[in-house]
Every structure is written in structure tokens, then in C-alpha cells.
Amino acid sequence: MRPILLIDFGSTYTKLTAVDCDVPCILGRAQAATTVTTDISEGLENALDLLAAQTGGIEYSVRLACSSAAGGLRMVACGLVPELTAKAAQYAAFGAGAKVIKTFAYELTAEDAREIAGIAPDILLLVGGTDGGNSEVVRKNAAVIAAIPGSFPVVYAGNRTAKAECMDVLSASSHPAYAAPNVMPSFGKLDVAPAQQIIRDIFLKRIVLAKGLSRFQGVLDGILMPTPSAVLRALTLLSEGLPGKPGIGELVAVDLGGATTDVYSIASGLPNDSSTMLRGLREPYVKRTVEGDIGMRYGALGVLEEAGMAELCAVSGLAAEKVETLLHALRQNPSHLPQNPDEEALDFALATLAIRAGLLRHAGTVEQVYTLVGAVYQQVGKDLRNVQRVLLTGGALTSRSDCDGVMCRAVAVQDPSVLIPRAFTVTVDRDYILSAMGLLADMEPDAAFALLYHHFGKEEHHGT
């Protein structure tokens, strides 16, 4: 037996998964409330006791952890043009598992600087200009950032020409400065992986320490990454497979939480016919977006704002006053679980419309344009209509028995211009293994892939 303990410090629960990498199999799972305000190891000890009750005493050879506790990895991104380098910075941060609190474009103003000081991000990502392109704005922004009080680290991944100067200015400030290759080295071309690696290194070295998560560093073999980054790793492994072991191919995944909704796509999303042209930035193959205002509880009002009362009523089958009363009650008591059919119906509608909002913002759109040679189509973003696998995770979904119905209703959008998945099979992360397998993926790729494939490889449900 080669037992490994995988730990996910969530904002609410500390979740444990014990795996035997020899078989491979899951030995047991347990969770206990996260204790971030006192000592995070208390919650871990409680969860370990619960796990030991299932598995008996096990001496783990390795313990690995990911964390989204204490707000997760909070980042600010600063770029030049909103649609170009500022967007590239956002992709880089999201893909590194961060929560992007705010993205700034063009020259930072004094007001922006005050706002950044107020946000006090865990990391600030500064980019701007292609290599050899605009260096004036990123230089000015480096100077503005250097003057912001605080000690948050700054990652510079902008125009190569301005790198030395910006690093000098930043290094002389109260902010530790790190340099990465440009996120957009030439026009329209993204290179976000190196910057993401640096963000992850900083997360390991500094953030974990700063958030008081590393008091038991001796016990753990380290908190490896933010939880979304672990999920992204697991999804990529499941999609792409290993040499000689094909994965399940292109997929879309939704992680629906109480406050936020994460959407992942492992898919090229390129236009699938010759009359469609791709406009704007070519998005990363492995893409993650986060809707910070869309969720089942804290994010319920965001769902209302996005979908509108009429749609919330239509999907839930409830009257507007009823919806308002129930939403008000949820605001008062965010940990409330449905106790009657009306509350069930509202939760169904919230889940459906939160997923819809997340997918609509993640996926691309297509527009028909008339030209002298006839109609042509212009696509912006990713076309996910032909993605055939959808994975659902997150507490709000894994406990539901009607995820298939939720998902089918979520994509029932009449508008033909939206490029969300249309015909797919739905698989639910019932055993909550995605983040655990992402943690395991580096050290034991074969075991991680075998367990992922066992859970998600077979197609359980049939969607629309």
C-alpha cells in the first residue's frame, strides 16, 4: 500500500481524500469545518479524526494540499488595451487559479492607485505592450504601483523593452518584484504559462505563509497550489490523458459555489466551418473564468441581476413576490438548505441560471455579417457548441439528483449567436475528487488519471 493524503482547505470545509496509489483506489473521504480564524490545523485534525474512523490508522507517506481558504489567491491585473494585454493578464491570472478582484487598463490614475491600495491584493500582475511595442504606459504604471503603500508582490510580464527599467523601479519599492516573459510577446499571441508558473511559485513561498496556512509545514509536504489550479490540472489530465492512455477529449466544467461560479473549458473552440472568421484574441486552449458575483447564496442576487426576475420566475415556477421573499431569507441565512418544494424550486432556478450566466460569459459569440460576396460569420471567443462532455462540481451541484435537468435547462437559450455547449453528456463530481486528483497529478500521474477515468470516463447521463 502507498497511501497519500490529499487536502483541500476550502473557505467553508477542509476536505480530505485518502488514496492508495498502488491499486489505485480511494481509501476514504472526510470533511470538517475550516478553522481559518483560529488555527487552520484544528479543522484539519477534526477532519483527520473523521477519516481515521473510516479507514483506520494509516501512516501517510505523502500529504499534499491546495487551498482556497482566506479568500483564495486574490489578484489585480493591470494591462494596456482592455481587449488585448489587459485581457491577456486576466487569462494568466485566472489560469493560475486566482480570483481577479479588478482589472485595470491604460494609465493608472491616482484614484486607481488608491483603489489598488484598498484592495491590497495577494499579487499584482503588471503587463502592457507587445515586445517592442508600447512601453510608455507600462513604465508609468510601474512607477504608480511602486508608490502604492503595502508589500504585495508584483509580477512584471509586459513589454520586454521596458522590463529592466520597470523591475528597477519596482525593486526599489516596498513590493517584491518578479519578472516573467511577456504575456503577449507579439500582437494577438498569448504566452501566459511562464507568468502563471511565477504566480504559483509566489503563492507557495509567500501567500501560504502570509495567510497562516503553513504552521504545520512539517506535517504537510506543502500547499502546492490554489484549489482552482488543482481542478484545472485534473480536468486537463482527464481531457488529454497520458501517453498510451487517451483522455476523454474536449470538455467543459462548471464549479458552482455559494458565492462564485467557475467555468473551465479544455477545448480549442475554433470556428468549425470555413465561412466563419475568428476575430479578436485567440483564447487559451485551457481556459478558466470566474464569475465573482454569481452563486447559489452570497451570489444569488447576482443571478437575479443577470437573468432578471421574469426568467427566475419562469424557471422556478414561482411568483415574483415569492422569489423575493425567499431571496431575502437566503440573504439573512446563507447556509440555509431547501426545506420545502418552493425553496427547492428556487434552488433549481438559481443553479440553472448561475450556470447559464457563467457559460454565456465564458463562451464566445458569433455574428452574421453581410458582405458583397454574401453572408459571413464573425466569431469572437470560443465555440463550445460541439463539446460533448460537461462536468459539474461544487457543493451546490454534487448534492443534487437532477443535475442533468439543471444543465439542460441552463443551455436552453434561444439566441443562436451564443456558442455554449448544445448536445452533451453530463457527469457529476459526486465524490468530490477533482481538486484531489489535480494535486496528485504531478507526483502520481498514472494513479490520478486512472481514478479520474474511473469516475468520469464512462458516460452516465444523456443531456439534450
Partner: protein
């Protein structure tokens, strides 16, 4: 990657125009003539030229239009450049830029009034535009006037 010692051009075919061949030829010719070329291809909006020019610190924007609607597509382009901080960036336009056959002097006057620095009529060989670019951006020689 862009060569930092070379001047940078942003080019493309504006509006709902899908003429792709001339765009490719020009892009090749400009590159061979020693410029960094950011070619946005066909069906490019004013905003896309401007965004690309900001990010790459372009020295000139070269707009092509082959389908006759160039005059409509180019309305307000200079003002948008000013608004975006691309003050005084040279704007070139070339191709079949107006509807029907009109005297070129008249067409050139109208486009210059819209803020275009150089206006090239139908059938202009790439060398003419390249000579103009070299004169305007590098101060080399004297470009033949396309109206001649």
C-alpha cells in the same frame, strides 16, 4: 517577434470587406521593405486598428478598402485616433475607396479632409506606398505623388 529597430505598421481591410489577396501581397511587400507588419486581415473595424496600434506602438496605420464603401467605413477614424491618444499617427488609405468612377483629385481631397495623410487610388503598386512610408517614417527620399 518585432524588430525594435524597424518601424511598425498596422494594416488591414476595413469594414465588411473580405478582399484578402491584395492584403496578403501588401503585407508581404511591406515586410520585405523592412517594416514590422501587424496584419489584421479582412473585415477590420476602426477600433481594432486603433487597439493594435496602441499595444504595438505603431508608427502608421494602413487602411485598405476594395469594395467601394471605404468612405463610409472611414468616417471619424482620425477623431477616434485622437481620442485614443494616437495623436498625429500617419493614416494611409488605398484601394477602390469610393463608389463608382470619380476624379481621383476629388476623392483624395475628401479623404485628406477626413484626416488621412496619404490617399492611394486603384492599381497603386506596392512600391509607391513603400516609398511614401519611407519618406514619412524614415525621412528617406521623396515619394512620387500618387496623383501624378
Amino acid at each position: 517577434m518585432m524588430d525594435e529597430n524597424k518601424k511598425t505598421l498596422v494594416m488591414g481591410v476595413i469594414g465588411a470587406d473580405v478582399h484578402a489577396v491584395g492584403n496578403q501581397i501588401l503585407s508581404y511587400a511591406f515586410r520585405e521593405a523592412g517594416f514590422n507588419v501587424i496584419n489584421l486581415g479582412v473585415m477590420v473595424s476602426q477600433e481594432e486598428y486603433i487597439q493594435a496600434a496602441i499595444e504595438t506602438a505603431a508608427d502608421c496605420i494602413c487602411v485598405s478598402s476594395l469594395y467601394g464603401h471605404g468612405e463610409l467605413d472611414c468616417q471619424g477614424f482620425r477623431e477616434k485616433c485622437d481620442e485614443a491618444g494616437l495623436k498625429d499617427i500617419p493614416l494611409y488609405i488605398g484601394g477602390n475607396i469610393v463608389v463608382g468612377k470619380q476624379p481621383f483629385e476629388e476623392v483624395e481631397r475628401r479623404f485628406r479632409a477626413m484626416g488621412f495623410n496619404r490617399v492611394f487610388g486603384p492599381g497603386t503598386p506596392p512600391e509607391v506606398t513603400i516609398a511614401a512610408l519611407k519618406e514619412d517614417l524614415l525621412g528617406e527620399g521623396h515619394a512620387p505623388d500618387p496623383a501624378d
